[in-house]
């Protein structure tokens, strides 16, 4: 029996040929569907291709009209690309690695209209939008009133902190006074010192009875002297403590006497617009708009982040697998799926890499060309960051545009992303700077020079924006019946011709702070400063008079209360004098005794 079937070889060739033919016929559609499916999943809105064309020799792929719908505005494309040409490394393709040697992206357009909605029914984007709105709401504000409020009304509803402080200190002084009175009772008084005196008299009188009598009275005198000295010391200590107490209370009274001024200042700031209160008005005006832009950028960054952070996800997933190896159950791997185990590569290459991509964007103001390098989700394998540089010159309405950046995720644990944008001579029309109801602001005309630097380290954001506007025309359509302040501000804004804005965004991506400073602050401050000053002076005068009227009485009482301590001090001094007199008596008597014992050393 023959074991070889030569007809079978022909059949094999025919079968392979049929398969290859089918693959070649449908590969384009397969690639197209694959890009659409994965792109849609990543984008959160439809990604559509008009066509994909695979070429084998040399290996390449041409994509025609790629439309990436905007998840936030499904009737618009966030991005539309006329054609993408890719030159592939065929050998690496066999190793299941998509290495694009060169990519050319032609005709990038932003915000083009769509014929049908690009929504895919997920509410994900809407949820994020709601979160974004909440974040930016923190920056909304209302203008303070310019009307002069009634001082009596204010004082009827406001608690004066100075008055509270006076009451509190008064009660403390009274308590201290009581304590000192009690302490005075426990200290030696005049009666006690009189007792000492009598005792001395008695001892000196009894010392006339012989040598033993004299020696005995000397010892007694010595004991009395020591007791007396101890009592005097306790009075001295108490008097010193009292002096310190009085000094401390006087200093606190002095401090409290300044409190009414603070009350006046606080109430003035609260109820009346002051030039100081207008400081940072530009921050209040522009922060909401800046926040909206930051949130938009963040939404796009969130979309590309998973692609850039595959290494990080793999590491986190790897940890899970290690744990899972022994503890978790692999429920049921899909047919022909399973895990791919990676081994060390002698010449490591990412699974997907676009070495260079040349892009040309057709924007409203002209063409911008640029190059991207090292587009890969496996930067840790490649060891190089994604870099990009776009530039355009002599554009319609813009003198120059330069965008450079680096997305460095080589170390997945500490990614560093930097983007720098410089736009020169950008002629702007009808740009909404503030949508705030209190003071909406539109830049009708102006020429802008923008310098934006964004740095992202891990979750920390540090962004600096410098914007200079020339030939500015600002307008604000405030509602009828808006407060007087808004009217004044709008009138002053119309005269602004030059605008300089400096903004710093810092913090974390989730919780960041926007600091804005602008020459608008000075303009606005100057505009209302004069009018505010006159009204503020009158308001302050009335407020001061009424506050002082309320505080002066209790303050006088407080100072008077301190007088009670003088009596205590006088009493202590009296007792000290009396004690000192008694001590002097002992010393005098002692010196007489020394005369009797000439040549004998007495203990005093």
């Amino acid at each position: 029996m023959k074991w070889i079937r030569w007809k079978g070889l022909i059949a094999f060739i025919v079968i392979i040929g049929i398969f290859a033919g089918i693959w070649f016929a449908f590969a384009d559609i397969f690639v197209e569907r694959m890009i659409e499916k994965n792109g849609t999943r990543m984008n959160g809105a439809k990604v559509e291709l008009d066509g994909a064309d695979i070429s084998l020799f040399p290996a390449g792929l041409t994509l025609t009209r790629l439309q990436v719908a905007n998840p936030d505005e499904p009737m618009k494309n966030a991005l539309e690309i006329k054609s993408i040409n890719l030159k592939l490394d065929s050998l690496n393709l066999l190793r299941r690695k998509v290495i694009v040697e060169d990519m050319t992206v032609d005709g990038i357009e932003l915000g083009t209209p769509r014929k049908s909605s690009g929504a895919i029914g997920r509410r994900h984007s809407a949820v994020k939008e709601a979160v974004r709105r909440t974040v930016c709401r923190d920056f909304e504000f209302s203008l303070p009133s310019f009307d002069v409020p009634d001082v009596k009304d204010i004082l009827s509803k406001e608690k004066l902190e100075s008055l509270e402080a006076v009451k509190s200190l008064k009660s403390e002084i009274n308590k201290e006074k009581d304590r000192w009175k009690k302490q005075l009772e426990s200290l030696p008084n005049k009666e006690k010192f009189e007792e000492y005196r009598k005792k001395i008299e008695k001892l000196t009188a009894s010392s006339k009875g012989g040598l033993s009598g004299i020696l005995g009275s000397v010892n007694e005198l010595k004991k009395v002297q020591e007791d007396l000295k101890r009592d005097l010391e306790s009075i001295k200590t108490a008097r010193k403590g009292l002096k310190e107490e009085i000094k401390s209370l006087k200093s606190r009274i002095d401090k409290i006497s300044k409190e009414p001024l603070k009350d006046i200042q606080r109430l003035k700031e609260k109820y009346f617009i002051s030039p100081k209160g207008l400081e940072g008005l530009s921050e209040k005006l522009l922060s909401t708009r800046l926040c909206a832009w930051v949130e938009k950028a963040r939404a796009w960054y969130d979309r590309i982040k998973p692609v850039l952070e595959r290494a990080r996800q793999a590491k986190e997933g790897g940890k899970g697998n290690t744990k899972g190896k022994g503890e978790t159950e692999v429920i049921k791997p899909l047919r022909a799926k399973g895990f791919d185990v990676r081994f060390k590569e002698y010449a490591p290459m990412p699974d997907f890499l676009i070495k260079t991509a040349d892009a040309s964007a057709n924007l409203a103001f002209g063409d911008i060309n640029g190059r991207l390098n090292n587009i890969t989700p496996d930067q840790d394998v490649l060891g190089a960051p994604l870099t990009f540089k776009f530039s355009g010159a002599s554009l319609k309405g813009v003198d120059s545009v330069d965008i450079t950046g680096e997305l460095n995720h080589i170390d997945a644990a500490s990614p560093k992303d930097t983007v720098s944008v410089r736009i020169g001579g950008y002629r702007l029309n009808n740009i909404t700077l503030s949508e705030n109801k209190a003071l909406p602001l539109v830049l009708k005309d102006g020429i802008a020079n923008l310098n934006i630097k964004v740095s992202l380290k891990g979750d920390s954001i540090d962004s600096k924006i410098l914007a200079g506007f020339k030939s500015v025309k600002l307008s604000s359509a405030i509602e009828k019946g808006s407060n007087q302040l808004a009217n004044i501000l709008v009138s002053s804004l119309s005269s602004v011709r030059e605008l300089k804005i400096r903004a710093n965004i810092s913090g974390t991506i989730e919780k960041y702070e926007i600091k804005v400073s602008s020459n608008l602050d000075k303009v606005l401050k100057d505009a209302i400063g004069k009018q505010v000053k006159e009204q503020a002076a009158g308001f302050e005068k009335r407020l001061k008079a009424q506050v002082m009227a309320k505080v002066n009485g209790p303050m006088g009482e407080l100072k008077g209360n301190l007088g009670g301590f003088d009596a205590i001090g006088g009493e202590l001094s009296g007792r000290l004098n009396s004690g000192s007199g008694a001590l002097n008596d002992i010393l005098k008597k002692g010196s007489k005794k020394k005369g009797v014992f000439n040549g004998i050393k007495l203990p005093f």
Binding site: L9, A336, V341
Partner: protein, 173 residues
């Protein structure tokens, strides 16, 4: 199901060499248990077509083992994972991983590795067992089966006659 039983009986009762039938089933085991679109299955297909194996047995076996593979995939995954993460074979796997042809084969996939190892190990034992079983069947059971009502009923059906008329290429081998 009925058609599969009929096919099986038809193959077993034919004059085909037991080795051709069992080899067909063994190749079907490799192709059926491992992911179908793998590089090694191209070699299996080449062997099935060029070697004079029983194609009916192969096709029947392919359907059967593909079904079994769905149930056994978790087992293959475990075997594959054990093999691929074993430090004993690390050097070999690393060497293969750096070879284009083996990467194309996708040997580093746990299911490919597990199912391929499983079917290769079982290939020879299954071949010998099937040879033995087919011989024993023909010696002891064939005549009895031919006389059973079920077989007579099958032979009377239009399906069986049609099958008999078109199956010459595979069984004649």
């Amino acid at each position: 199901m009925l058609r599969a039983v009929a096919k099986l009986l038809r193959v077993l009762n034919s004059d085909a060499d037991p080795g051709q039938i069992s080899l067909g089933i063994c190749f079907a085991m490799v192709a059926g248990l491992t992911p179908f679109l793998s590089l090694h299955n191209l070699i299996v297909l080449l062997l099935v077509l060029t070697l004079r194996v029983n194609l009916s047995a192969f096709l029947l076996g392919l359907a059967l083992f593909s079904g079994i593979a769905y149930i056994l995939d978790p087992v293959f995954h475990t075997i594959g994972l054990t093999l691929l993460t074993s430090s004993l074979f690390k050097g070999v796997w690393t060497l293969l991983y750096n070879s284009t042809i083996w990467r194309l084969e996708g040997f580093n996939n746990t299911i490919v590795a597990g199912s391929l190892a499983f079917s290769i190990i079982l290939f020879i034992p299954l071949l010998l067992i099937l040879n033995l079983v087919i011989r024993r069947y023909r010696e002891h059971l064939l005549k009895w089966v031919e006389k059973t009502r079920v077989m007579k009923f099958f032979k009377a059906t239009k399906l069986y006659r049609t099958y008999q008329s078109v199956s010459g290429w595979g069984s004649a081998a």
